[in-house]
Amino acid sequence: MAADGVIHVVGLHKRFGAVQALRGVDLTVAQGEVMGLLGHNGAGKTTLVNILSTLMPPTAGTASVAGFDVAGRPEEVRRRIGVTGQFASLDEQLSGHDNLVLVARLCGASRARAGRRADELLEAFGLGDAGRRKAVTYSGGMRRRLDLALGLVGRPEILFLDEPTVGLDPPSRIGLWEMVEELTRGGTTVLLTTQYLEEADRLADRITVLEAGRVLVSGTAAELKSRAGGGFISFRLEPHGDPAVAAEALRLAGLPPGAETARGELTVPAEGSADLATVIRVLDTVGQNVTEIRHSEPSLDDVYLALTGAWSRDPVPAGPPRRAGVAKARRHTADPRETV
């Protein structure tokens, strides 16, 4: 089991009527690893988690969790996993405390031990004050925290987090991230699905990108980013500068910029920060002064868009995308990692 990974998936297919949700997924997650499963809506993330957490059997292929086949020995799998879904799975009419006690007792704890465990988890998740209130009165963030706490009652070895921060406000999201980071420090193996690259980048040791039921690419965040090339240099000219002159000069220098963005920025694909000096020098030579210039490393957005774009247009993923179109995509990135 250790050699094959705590989670081991081979050739997994799932069909719902006419819809092929999974089309041959292979995945291995090692002990203590955090695997980020990244993909659009409908990419198959939730279906994969549902199969791994024994909610539904696969149509074809095999999946094992902690060494047990999910279809053949679901009861063994259920003793070792915790699940937090997109939809908070709890009793609204019961208090947070009673929800936790219920699950703890079903997991075999005595009444006294279940009560202690509930108090521990409420405290740990900042729900100590709300613990005796009905869950129906909780905010979205509180429900998510209670849901995560419910998934941890049985001290799972493997934790499935299916889009745990969807619909949360930024402070709640960051709070949940911190909790997941605490968990993973304790050695829990985690499979996390998300649509947010930032989330996968922050929490996951490795990332698997799913697209239309297939694995598009798998690797560390750094590996995936390296596939998107060296990043970009973005700059803005002084108000009386001439973008056409600047663009022509850069093109002659072998660094052709993309179209000017709405913010009046020009963006040049770059190999690294060495190109930064070149850009400044070239612009200086033609008398164009910049008010603002920075080098951004490629984000997972770039990787994702490059790979999924290549996938939908071309069955053979293209090489590192040195293309002007990427500059546009950059504007959607919430958190560009800037170096200047």
């Binding site: 259920r78 003793r79 699950v103 079903l106 998740f125 070895e157």
Partner: protein
Amino acid sequence: MNGPRTTAPPAGLPAQPHGPRREPAGKAAQLWVLTVRQIRLVYADSRVVLFSVAQPVVMLLLISQVFGSLADRSILPRGVSYIEFLLPALLVTTGIGTSQSAGVGLVRDMEGGMVRRFRVLPLSLPLVLVARSVADLTRSGMQLLVLVVGGHLLFGYRAGGGVGGLVAALLLSTLVIWALIWIFIALAAWLRKVEVLSSIGFFVNFPLMFASSAFVPVEVLPGWLAAVATVNPVSHAVEASRDLALGGQAGSEVPAALCAGLGLMLVMMLLAFRAFRRPPEE
């Protein structure tokens, strides 16, 4: 939650090693925990409890006045008042409405909620349904008691069969209602949509209730309806309950009703377990 908790992970969070793997709770303990939960949920809203418990008294009041005025003494068994005829039947038919609400409750429970989590816990899934049926049965039990007390206070009802006969009628009705609850639990586990369940529920409810000997003797029904009423298991249950409560000849109807009730319950339980195991499809 973004408070000043930046130090070591608090106790209880997985910084602690995964201790020795605990055995999941035994089946008896699981059933107990699940039933207590379900009872708490069934009685969570006191208004719902109040109105559902009062409901059979309203039925008694209205049906006794509407049909009682029509029911000629001559069509009733000799020496039996309409209340004496009706009340033991209501003990059974009251359960039809309750069992439908049990089905609706199960569907709501299955939409997200805790039942979703139960499916990934080391848990015997059929017990979730058994717990549900028991919790709803307690509510039916309360309805039956209220019905008997209400009948006594409003109409001076006394069972001809004495306390023993009345208790026997209550026990038999409870068993039959349990079987009816399982019909709707099976439907709910299969259909999984409140709207569908409610619209189908009507087609199960009304024929069971009215194409029976509950409100008038079978003999006065039109021929085709009498034929339906004769094979309706509710008729057998009603006749048996009536026999016991009236203290009359507790003849062949009691064993027939017991067999029908138990058989129906067994079949519906098996169907419900199967349907409930089906994974949620999204």
